[in-house]
């Protein structure tokens, strides 16, 4: 596998390519949290895990995606006694 041509490795080139998309997605997350906060009720494990993951975004460390996915994962090692559902929710329910 060859690597991309050097100009595309530069920060300004990647910014040109992806900035508007990232800007729009960040605003969507902000609007989602505003919408949630206007609504009555309490956070479930999905919202708690989402809010906790925001801290990864600006901590200055690498591998944010991997670390966020790990933070949402079931940390146990042994197989479950049974599958009581077929679906997944996006974050470990005991978070």
């Amino acid at each position: 596998m060859t690597t991309p041509k050097e100009p595309w490795r530069q920060r300004d080139a990647l910014t040109d390519l992806y900035y508007m998309e990232a800007r729009a997605r960040l605003l969507d997350v902000a609007a989602f949290l505003d919408r949630i906060d206007r609504a009555p009720g309490t956070d479930d494990h999905r919202l708690r895990s989402l809010r906790a993951a925001l801290a990864f975004l600006n901590d200055g460390k690498a591998d944010r995606t991997r670390r966020i996915l790990e933070s949402w994962s079931d940390p146990s090692a042994a197989p479950a006694d049974s599958a009581d559902t077929k679906g997944a929710t996006g974050a470990w329910p005991k978070l």
């Binding site: 060859t2 080139a13 991997r66 949402w72 994962s73 079931d74 599958a83 997944a88 929710t89």
Partner: protein
């Protein structure tokens, strides 16, 4: 552009999708056995499904000049009923000699339960006994990391040759585990629940790209049968060469799948392999 779609549930798609895929450069499609969206109630339901995968769907794809291959199994979502699962396992060998059958898949885990583990181990045993390729599904979302680790342990204990096993649906927190164990890894391009094109390319740039492939895993849910060629276009936008893109979306799946002697691509790209 030419590409191989190594994971698509075409029985859930329309013939318009075949037209679009071939128009975009698809030269072979591979279809793992899958969950139907509901639990089948008898082994005869699976027998019919395996006939669809090995006889009916290849004929439908052939009308568009597209070679169609399949993988056989009972999906982990239906593994909790051990009796039914064992009955389905018993009929799989009847279909293994069909010319379009690549091997056993997509087996694996869903909720990482003990019964899922048992049936996964039985599938692996069948693959080893018949010396067939293996395609492994890793669980969704919060269950993926734990399930991937369990799967890797089971494969290691079973003595499976890593180069003949592809572990699918990797993301940033599992791709290194899979590649470090010597297996091939599949990145699934989903609009929401797996990898986007940009994230997939990030992984390709950072890891051992010679043992990675991309797939759409298109099915009856939110998915895109053209996700692979669209990601190829995204690679061009990011500056990857045509040679590098061809290696990823054509050369890599070709190398893995050609371990089955019956695998071939459409003649219109220069002859069968």
């Amino acid at each position: 552009m030419r590409y191989i779609e190594p994971h698509a549930h075409m029985v859930s798609r329309t013939t318009d999708d075949y037209t679009a895929m071939v128009t975009a450069g698809c030269v072979a499609v591979c279809e793992p056995a899958f969950w139907a969206g509901f639990d089948r109630c008898s082994v005869d339901g699976f027998r019919d499904y395996f006939r669809q995968l090995t006889e009916i769907e290849p004929r439908r794809a052939a009308r568009y000049g597209l070679p169609h291959f399949s993988w056989l199994c009972i999906n982990p979502k239906e593994s909790e009923d051990l009796g039914l699962a064992e009955a389905v396992l018993s009929i799989i060998p009847e279909f293994l000699d069909k010319p379009n059958v690549l091997g056993i898949g997509e087996i694996g885990l869903n909720k990482n339960s003990r019964n899922e583990v048992k049936i996964f181990e039985r599938h692996v045993q069948i693959a080893v006994e018949h010396d067939r390729l293996i395609l492994v599904h890793t669980p969704h979302l919060e269950d993926k990391l734990k399930g991937t680790k369990l799967i890797l342990d089971i494969l290691r204990n079973a003595g499976v040759r890593p180069g003949r096993t592809l572990i699918d649906h990797v993301e940033e927190h599992t791709v290194r585990h899979v590649l470090d164990a010597g297996h091939w890894a599949g990145i699934t391009l989903y609009p929401e629940s797996k990898a986007t094109p940009a994230r997939a390319i990030d992984m390709v740039e950072q890891y051992a790209a010679e043992r990675l492939w991309l797939n759409s895993a298109c099915d009856w849910g939110h998915s895109d049968p053209l996700a692979v060629p669209k990601t190829a276009l995204e690679m061009r936008r990011r500056g990857h060469s045509a040679t590098a893109i061809d290696a990823l979306i054509y050369g890599n799946p070709l190398r893995f799948l050609s371990q089955y002697s019956g695998f071939k691509v459409a003649d219109h790209v220069g002859g069968s392999v």
